[in-house]
Symmetry: C3
Subunit: 334 residues, 3 copies
Amino acid sequence: MQRFNDLADFSSEEIRGLIDLARRLERQPEPRALEGKVLSLLFLSPSLRTLTSFQAAMIRLGGGAFVVSPEMSIHGLESRSGIVMDGAAAEHIREAVPVIASYGDAIGIRAFAKRENLQADLDDREFNEIASLVGDKPLINMESAINHPCQSLADWKTLDDFEIPANGGRFVLSWAYHPKPLPLAVPAATVHMAAMRGMDVVVLRPEGFELPPAIMGKARAAAEASGGRVIETTDRREAMEGAHVIYAKSWSSTRYYTDRAGDKALREQLVDWCVDEPWFENARPDCRFMHCLPVRRGVVVADRILDGPRSIVIREAHNRMLVQMAVLYRMLKG
Amino acid sequence: MQRFNDLADFSSEEIRGLIDLARRLERQPEPRALEGKVLSLLFLSPSLRTLTSFQAAMIRLGGGAFVVSPEMSIHGLESRSGIVMDGAAAEHIREAVPVIASYGDAIGIRAFAKRENLQADLDDREFNEIASLVGDKPLINMESAINHPCQSLADWKTLDDFEIPANGGRFVLSWAYHPKPLPLAVPAATVHMAAMRGMDVVVLRPEGFELPPAIMGKARAAAEASGGRVIETTDRREAMEGAHVIYAKSWSSTRYYTDRAGDKALREQLVDWCVDEPWFENARPDCRFMHCLPVRRGVVVADRILDGPRSIVIREAHNRMLVQMAVLYRMLKG
Amino acid sequence: MQRFNDLADFSSEEIRGLIDLARRLERQPEPRALEGKVLSLLFLSPSLRTLTSFQAAMIRLGGGAFVVSPEMSIHGLESRSGIVMDGAAAEHIREAVPVIASYGDAIGIRAFAKRENLQADLDDREFNEIASLVGDKPLINMESAINHPCQSLADWKTLDDFEIPANGGRFVLSWAYHPKPLPLAVPAATVHMAAMRGMDVVVLRPEGFELPPAIMGKARAAAEASGGRVIETTDRREAMEGAHVIYAKSWSSTRYYTDRAGDKALREQLVDWCVDEPWFENARPDCRFMHCLPVRRGVVVADRILDGPRSIVIREAHNRMLVQMAVLYRMLKG
């Protein structure tokens, strides 16, 4: 495995193979599998779970990781081409990325969307540009403008862990209120993952927060291949009917993607999009609650949901480490 | 061992067993003892020795550690209950702590006193709340509002290393001047440790800096069991009479614990509480100087003491790593 | 090996032995060579390559490293002697350095020039003072006021990798424009390294940027022993005549070393010292471009040079890790 950038690059069987490997490595640790191996972790955006779970994963397999993160006293990194670097940035990604990549056996890169241009973000232009600098070094997408394959693989495993049906299971991806316009990476990756798993997927979101056609089209293609289905609605009751799981996530208004004021005006009318017990009225009684974390309590979701039996967010976050061990093992040991 | 939170949770024999284990691991390294094992280190307060010595300890035993610290670009962590998280903090400790704990085989947590309420700090309320979130994961207190067991275990070993007598050894815990009101964790842990070791313990401090009855009572109970003794005094000559060791440490005024102005007014009259050679006039000639570090030169203690033969602070700090290796070994290997 | 502080402390044969060892460890990894061994990394100045390559080096040899860096929430470190520490700094290097050293099997230290006094920097006074605090712990200079031996060892290996002749090879160390006055460490180490390798060395720099006699004298002594030669010039054509390699680096005006305004006035007239294709007119056709990185594009060097076939800066940076593995191996395993 040379790239772990998008679940769409793998077959369902390959995904299931990775999840099986994650289970095996949890059951039968292999603390020398990757001895002497190094993972470079380059964060151009903040992190908690990804940062810690990748370090833990490498230690568990006998290797190690080093971290480059934005708050380190590194020289600000320039990314524009053809620029005269007489300002604050003392280094260009064209040098920094190949060098950092060269110190590791694989490299993980995180670079959130800049939200300056929707099409550029949908095309994952910045991430692809950075990724083009790592040469033939194995590369892991640790969240880009439009993808988060480690989260999606962990989510798939979490659905399996709780025996939520693949074909026939109803998966609601719901927008939720948040004071800031957040990236599209998680909703885009999630709707595709659930569709690829063969689920009955509903995207529940207010007007103005439609997922772009490129995202919905990719998910629908995956659903077609897997026997799943993807629909969109603004109607909560309709969406939650018979749901096995609701996956909450806030994202930017796509109508006002680069217009902060427009997004804010629309968003402020939607503070009642906070997942709470009444949402589950016509769901299955054991309907679960998922979220990729971090989550704002009382804003995205009520305390009683997070603290109650529906929530599987801690296991979901724990699965990040387990599936990443499988990805690293496959990448570096085969 | 599931928790390393307080020396009072162990018998003297168990403490001596840990120190013996530390010596053995120094003499006979076991660089594969904890292979594939991960220590999660969660710092909600700053650190230098604890941060580095725990990482070093894990590497020496063949495992590794990852660090979460306040200056990282993580989302500020909220800790209040039932709050609507529409401010700066994007994550609650109720999610962050279980997740971070789940990535490790054990977790160390540091959370200094908030000094908003003396009783809350004496009860270690905040630390206990955080600790309740780690589930059954082995937990190490890396300094809480009222305890610092790793420091105390290192201090015990240091006293042994320099052959300072247990029963019959005179241990002076002395308040010292410092421009800021510092926590009670080290003095509380230290007076208990010396009492548990069976020493003749004197707490030397100015009026207004009395250690609270809960701290003194716990130390006296330990002294009773060990054949030691604990007294308090404001009289330096009396305290230092025949002393084997003086352990300097500044702490908040307990009379003005939450009243910063009151503390400041009292404290400013006490700049002469800087340990210097005249203090040792009626001590034993080889009386030693200890301090947990960091220490302000010329403020807490004179240069000639720190740079002279009385000072054993570097060995004391080095022992932090050695005893922590023993704690980790016992916790993760048995 | 107890100290890796200056290539001048070693014979050419010893340097070649280290480079051979670096090659062997790249070809035949020894992922258990340093199991259980710890490298302490103390950065008093910023870093990217050094920080990451040393961590990677230790992991590849089966050990690990911990990092102390200026942006960590450690208490500011005081370094002045005899001071009353009643200000911001809560810890003195006289405690911090021995403690940090004591947690490792070796320690790397970085402390850039303060540029308050040229003679003090030429004598490496600050670094030597810090180094005096590590006791008998093996020590690596990770860049001081006047030296950068890891960079020079990597540069030597890079010259070998590209089969640039030792005796007879023409090495141009050229000053280049940069908006800030940078330290002398790299030019001082580089001119000595190339001379020690037996090369025909030319220092090309504008008036006011002469390398001090102490630096040039040391390089000339090395050249004498190796059969090389060291000259200085302000004439670009003369310097580049038949050059095998140009090593670009900016540095402070030595005429205005502590006079920021004088340096600025002189420097601002020199923005045309940006290495570009016309510089190579009378060099050898395959003349290479080296730089220690980070490098400002369009300021120090034109994009087309960095992105073209002359540039060997990425391999040069990668060699940092490889040669440091050799140094660590020799130091900790023998």
